[in-house]
């Protein structure tokens, strides 16, 4: 590990002052599960490290006026243990539940997962399906943007060098909505995602799909909404037949996204199973909450 100066601010204001002071020369560490490896193998060597893990004010999950607000320093474990998310935002809950290992979930933060912009990130896929907004703060002020506008490619985001992501928020799903996330990987623990699929579905009182937000992760350079599939679903009855009817559309969509990638043969077939599993979970959620007659 190369030399650096280490700061561990206790408040957000102190951290933002440091980020402003050392703009471009400082790297942020929160959970550290990615950056410590890069520091240790010297592929990353900033002059300053700002450890934000002690900023208690950025660690919360709360629901205020129908908006779910998650502090950037909440860990995967925090979200996995949150009863509201477990019962009402199954997509995000599942995305956290299957991350890494207990040790990684105790360290890794939601803000880090979003900002890292790894192709294999789990929570960004779920957050985009919830149409989430990120809150970015700097010493100069605060701005917000939709997570869909935040990503530019692997490791690339709209975050400026002096900014910190402080919060992610989204509208709380209503009783007429169900969400699900399915992660396809090669084993059961410490899984790197091969395909991540997150869905939010809303249905009206006649059991017709009135809204669909479908996002696929780990296929393109960052998680993508799938408008073709969303259009297909809206206006159709929320049944197994409808969902079975779009399996081929998933396959075709994945093929068109990565036609030349070596993994396309596997991904375009396996996405059908991933879609079925996700929609099964949506259907079972709807029947559990008694909306279905």
């Amino acid at each position: 590990m190369k030399e650096f100066s280490f700061f561990s601010p206790g408040t957000l204001d102190e951290a933002l002052t440091l980020m402003n002071q050392y703009k471009g020369k400082a790297s942020v560490i929160a959970g550290g599960t990615d950056i410590v490896l890069e520091l240790n193998d010297r592929s990353h060597h900033p002059d300053y490290i700002v450890d934000i893990s002690k900023i208690k004010e950025l660690r919360y999950v709360k629901v205020v006026d129908g908006i779910v607000r998650i502090g950037a320093l909440s860990t995967f474990t925090d979200l996995e243990n949150d009863p509201y998310l477990r019962d009402h935002v199954k997509s995000l809950y599942s995305a956290c539940y299957y991350v890494g290992s207990p040790q990684i979930r105790n360290l890794g933060t939601i803000g880090g997962n979003v900002v890292n912009a790894s192709v294999a990130g789990d929570t960004p896929t779920a957050f985009i399906s919830l149409d989430a907004t990120v809150v970015l703060r700097s010493a100069a002020g605060k701005r917000e943007m939709k997570l869909t506008d935040f990503y530019g490619g692997p490791g690339k985001t709209e975050l400026e060098k002096d900014e910190l992501l402080t919060e992610i928020y989204f509208e709380a799903p209503t009783e007429q909505m169900a969400t699900a996330y399915t992660k396809l990987g090669k084993r059961k623990a410490l899984v790197i995602v091969v395909i991540g699929l997150a869905v939010l579905l809303e249905k009206d009182c006649n059991n017709i799909c009135s809204k669909a937000q479908v996002v696929i992760g780990a296929v393109a350079r960052y998680p993508q909404r799938l408008p073709l599939i969303e259009h297909y679903l809206v206006g159709k009855p929320v049944t197994k037949e409808t969902f079975d009817g779009c399996r081929d559309l998933f396959s075709q969509t994945v093929y068109e996204m990565i036609p030349t990638r070596a993994s396309v043969g596997y991904k375009k077939e396996s996405v059908k199973g991933v879609a079925s599993k996700t929609f099964d979970s949506i259907l079972s959620d709807f029947s559990l909450c008694g909306v279905e007659e």
């Binding site: 590990m1 190369k2 030399e3 650096f4 100066s5 280490f6 561990s8 560490i29 959970g31 550290g32 599960t33 410590v36 490896l37 520091l39 240790n40 490290i49 450890d51 893990s53 002690k54 474990t77 890494g100 290992s101 207990p102 040790q103 990684i104 105790n106 360290l107 059961k188 623990a189 410490l190």
Partner: protein
């Protein structure tokens, strides 16, 4: 490079140290505190051999910087035995034959300890999930799960 001063609680003792900041927690525990039960396996947070408990929760010390433990409470395997008496998990791991080369054992025992502190009567599935971040490449897991179950019964 400026040294940093870190004060924390290690195995029920308040300690403080002045050290270089460009160190992983793993390196500080081994080199400065002689806690050699903390092993470096993969060095990437995958294998769990470097597991320590931070405020009662298992974390991989190879993915943390030393400076991040300021004010925290850490437990390594060295702190598990009390007054020369081994912890129940250390005993059942021996009785069940859950140790072969022993490299993963400190991390395994600490992950199991964290589980039992929170949930004194876990199911087999809960044990499996709690130990899913600790890899063993020789014994296999059956005897390890058995050792944890024996500790529940005691």
């Amino acid at each position: 490079m400026e040294k940093i001063k870190i004060a924390f609680n290690l195995n029920d003792q308040d300690v403080s140290i002045e050290t270089m900041p460009n160190k992983r927690l793993l390196d500080m525990l081994r080199e400065d505190f002689n806690c050699t039960s903390v092993k470096e396996g993969c060095g990437e947070g995958e294998c769990g051999a470097c597991t320590v408990l931070r405020n009662g929760e298992p974390v991989t010390s190879c993915t943390m910087l030393a400076g991040q433990v300021q004010g925290e409470r850490l437990l390594t395997l060295e702190g598990l035995s009390k007054n020369g008496e081994l912890d129940i998990l250390q005993k059942t791991f021996m009785e069940a034959g859950a140790v072969q080369c022993g490299f993963c054992t400190p991390g395994m025992i600490l992950s199991a300890k964290a589980l039992l502190m929170k949930n004194p009567h876990p199911s087999r599935d809960e044990i499996r999930r709690a130990l899913s971040g600790n890899l063993c490449r020789c014994t296999g897991y059956t005897k390890i799960f058995k050792a944890v179950e024996m500790a529940i019964e005691e």
